[in-house]
């Protein structure tokens, strides 16, 4: 009975342990996989012709002839969409028509004066022109097509008047005819609604295809200069174009409800209705999406605060800061550990020192950041002639202090576990303590020390708080010396995530940055693990 109980307990223990492992793996997969999936879309995605144009113009990558040929190929297809849009919007924008009508009236008056028309004729012609103008304005003002038509017909009745032949007043009739067509086909009372919708449509068209050719390049950076560079973005813009999104109140205290109506339905019966099926069917032809491997993501600089481009300078900065921090921390840590193990007497002060080091490992990293700013950046480095400003060297030193406890702990443990027999053998052969440490203890402890190195490297690469004040900037040039600040991946992620709407507009770039950081940490670790493996194998024989 007792035996059976013990067996059951053993099995339960096994199952529990297995469950814990499965849970950890699942949690890791649950966090990492979506992140990697989204991050990888920064590198592998369906790029459109806009992407290739952006790459060519901003970075000089790609074949300009091929891109231009592609642009020329899509231009007529896009042009047709623009034409549909133009034909519809002409009738809606009455303010422009009103000013044109008033202009015609003035031009006509000026013409009459120039021709030195007799006063009586002048009077009649001017009255006629004034009448036509007022009729047209009344027609434009009319809230309904039925009300506008009599006004328009009144204007068109003077179509053949001899007095108006070959004068500026002829333009009245063009406007009247055009507007008559609109008034019969378009539901004029919904003009306001149309105008609003049209603004959204134009916006979506701009997001999809970029600014119209021939129009001035918009202000506000490269972000406005290109259409959808990625096919997934294009899909979103297409949704904006095809669906009208409205938030409807459901009563006080209740959340607004999103209502989607197809714009094709909204514009049914108008000349614009044909735009939607056209754009939907020809979106691919207008943008030419193609699977793209954007390997330069890891080396390119960014454009428009990470809306376009890659994480090159960030990667470089992270590598620089991390490696430099470890290069500083490793010798210091090993020497400190050597002292603690080999030389320090076993006294209260030594024990206190050891406790301090252990405590230091748990101090919040922001404290190190402030320490680094106060000590390295503002006090120590200016003594060596550096500016009192963030610099790679200040950040690296701060990170070095941050990882020092980890390095000391790991090295101490590693040195302590070197068998005493090795040390005794070396001393018995007449080696001094230093020589014994350097030739026997240190090489034997190297795998353990490298483990500390791995841990500290991962920590240094991922930390944001210590570099916040000492080295990191969100944007700026690639550093030319160690006395300059740099961008880093960890700070870049933070800045992008809390900064502005870029993270929302280009989530792939944020996740791409995160994944790059993870990849760098893993790569550094893999390198250190490989090194440790080599060392350990050499020791084992």
């Amino acid at each position: 009975m007792k035996y059976a109980l013990r067996q059951t307990a053993d099995k339960l223990f096994t199952v529990g342990a297995l469950l814990a492992v499965v849970l950890i793996v699942a949690a890791l997969a649950g966090i990492l996989l979506p992140m990697i999936w989204r991050g990888s879309s920064a590198v592998v995605f369906r790029g459109t012709v806009e992407f290739r144009r952006m790459q060519m113009e901003q970075f000089g990558h790609g074949d300009s002839a091929a891109v231009n040929a592609e642009l020329a190929q899509v231009a007529p297809i896009r042009q047709k969409a623009y034409e549909i849009l133009d034909r519809f919007s002409a009738g809606l924008d009455t303010t422009e028509l009103v000013s044109r009508i008033r202009q015609i009236h003035r031009q006509f008056g000026a013409q009459l004066t120039n021709r030195e028309v007799p006063p009586d004729q002048y009077e009649t012609a001017r009255d006629l022109s004034r009448m036509l103008r007022d009729e047209l304005l009344a027609a434009l003002d009319a809230p309904d097509g039925a009300l506008a038509l009599p006004h328009l017909d009144a204007v068109l009745a003077h179509d053949q008047d001899a007095a108006l032949k070959d004068t500026a007043a002829g333009a009245y009739f063009d406007i009247a005819r055009e507007y008559r067509r609109i008034a019969t086909s378009v539901d004029l009372p919904r003009r306001e609604e149309y105008a609003q919708s049209l603004a959204k449509i134009s916006e979506a068209m701009k997001g999809l295809l970029g600014p119209r050719p021939g129009q001035p390049v918009p202000e506000g950076g490269a972000m406005q200069r290109y259409g959808a560079t990625r096919w997934d973005q294009a899909q979103q813009q297409l949704d904006q174009l095809l669906w009208d999104e409205q938030w409807v109140s459901q009563g006080p205290g209740r959340p607004l409800k999103k209502v989607l109506t197809p714009r094709a339905q909204q514009f049914a019966g108008t000349p614009l209705a044909e735009l939607f099926p056209y754009v939907q069917q020809n979106a691919a032809a207008m943008l030419g999406p193609r699977w793209t491997f954007y390997g330069r993501f890891f080396t390119d600089d960014n454009v428009s605060s990470h809306y376009f481009g890659g994480v090159g300078p960030e990667t470089l900065g992270t590598l620089l800061v991390t490696v430099l921090a470890v290069v500083v921390a490793l010798p210091l840590g090993v020497v400190a550990a050597a002292y603690l193990v080999e030389c320090a007497p076993d006294t209260h002060s030594t024990r206190a020192l050891r406790t301090c080091i252990n405590t230091l490992a748990g101090v919040p990293s922001i404290v190190f950041g402030l320490f680094g700013q106060a000590f390295f950046m503002l006090y120590l480095l200016p003594k060596f002639g550096l500016r009192r400003d963030s610099s790679i060297i200040a950040g690296s030193l701060t990170l070095a202090v941050l990882v020092l406890p980890v390095v000391i702990r790991a090295s101490e443990e590693a040195i302590r576990t070197v068998p005493r027999a090795f040390r005794e053998a070396a001393l018995a052969l007449g080696a001094g303590r230093l020589h014994c440490f350097l030739t026997v203890t240190l090489p034997a402890a190297l795998p353990g020390i490298l483990t500390g190195l791995i841990l500290s490297m991962s920590r240094a690469a991922g930390e944001t708080a210590p570099i916040l004040f000492t080295v990191a900037v969100a944007s700026g040039p690639v550093p030319r010396s160690l006395a300059q600040p740099t961008r880093t991946l960890s700070y870049g992620c933070y800045d992008m995530a809390v900064g502005d709407r870029i993270a929302m507009l280009a989530p792939h770039n944020l996740f791409g940055m995160v994944v790059t950081l993870v990849a760098i940490v893993l790569l550094l670790n893999a390198a250190a693990i490989a090194l440790r493996g080599r060392v350990a194998r050499r020791l084992r024989g």
Partner: protein, 289 residues
């Protein structure tokens, strides 16, 4: 600084320091030509030597002479101070904190517990082989070359010395093609012979062996024993052992320690056949210990 039996290679290196210190220069130990061993003067002399761990005495009042070119075995039950005494000779006990020595322990007429002694030099003169084989986690070559390199031997001379030491330790034929392999890949017996070669490479006069065969199987033990017998023509060997048969087989003289005191010290055959003290007789016949 006191140099024990200064080595020829060592002279160049030590010349600078030797001039400054209050040096008590010892003449090289020159063994006299063949003859009865009793005629040779003792190389290690303990005179009322005691070593304390804190307040507890590891060995107390030891007085005996160890003669050169012979194997001296130290036997006794566990905890009787055999190893303590052995490790005092090259001052390996220094690694243990709070040790204190009284009396004198002379190697080649130099008191090793003199404050001015050159420890590195002493340990080069007095080599040691430990209970467990403890080769460095380095190549076979680097293991043997460790001592000579400390003395500044390089290049071809080093190669020759390594080969010679490995031949002395009867290991050369087995490892000559694998000198750059890790020493940890060798078998236990081979490792112990490598440690012996490594100890020989510093060209010591005295070899201390702390139960060198206790971690080995009988075949490896036999090889080491053979080796010890062949080496005694050139070296003074002091061996601590638990194995009384081994002591009887290989040693010329045997010391019996008990509870930190030297009970009896005489020719091996006397100790094993006709001991003076009753305690010794009980121990060697297996009735005690």
């Amino acid at each position: 600084m006191i140099e024990v039996n200064e080595m020829p290679q060592r002279k160049v290196l030590a010349a600078g320091t030797a001039a400054k210190t209050t040096d008590v220069k010892m003449a090289n130990y020159v063994p006299q030509a063949a003859g009865p061993e009793q005629q040779l003067p003792a190389i290690i002399r303990a005179d009322r030597f005691s070593l304390y761990y804190g307040s507890h005495a590891g060995v107390k009042d030891i007085t005996f002479d160890i003669y050169p070119r012979a194997v001296t075995a130290i036997i006794g039950p566990s905890g009787c101070g055999k190893s303590t005494f052995l490790r005092s000779i090259n001052r390996m006990n220094d690694l243990i904190p709070n040790t204190r020595a009284e009396g004198t322990l002379c190697v080649n007429d130099v008191n090793v517990y003199d404050r001015r002694i050159n420890l590195a030099n002493l340990r080069q003169q007095v080599g040691m082989v430990f209970q467990k084989p403890n080769p460095f986690p380095k190549t076979i070559y680097a293991n043997v070359a460790y001592g000579p390199r400390l003395q500044g031997v390089h290049g071809r001379a080093l190669d020759e010395q390594v080969e010679q030491c490995l031949r002395h330790a009867a290991l050369w034929e087995e490892v000559k093609d694998y000198l750059d392999r890790s020493a940890l890949g060798l078998s236990g017996g081979q490792q112990q012979r490598l440690c012996l070669a490594r100890a020989l490479a510093t060209q010591p006069n005295v070899l201390l062996m702390d139960e060198p065969c206790s971690a080995l199987d009988p075949i490896a033990t036999a090889k080491i024993e053979e080796l010890i017998i062949s080496l005694k023509d050139e070296y003074t060997i002091v061996i601590v052992t638990h194995n009384m048969q081994q002591a009887a087989r290989i040693s010329d003289r045997t010391a019996f320690f008990c509870l930190g005191e030297l009970i009896e010290y005489d020719q091996t055959k006397v100790i094993f056949t006709n001991p003076v003290r009753k305690q010794t007789e009980e121990y060697v016949t297996g009735r005690f210990g």
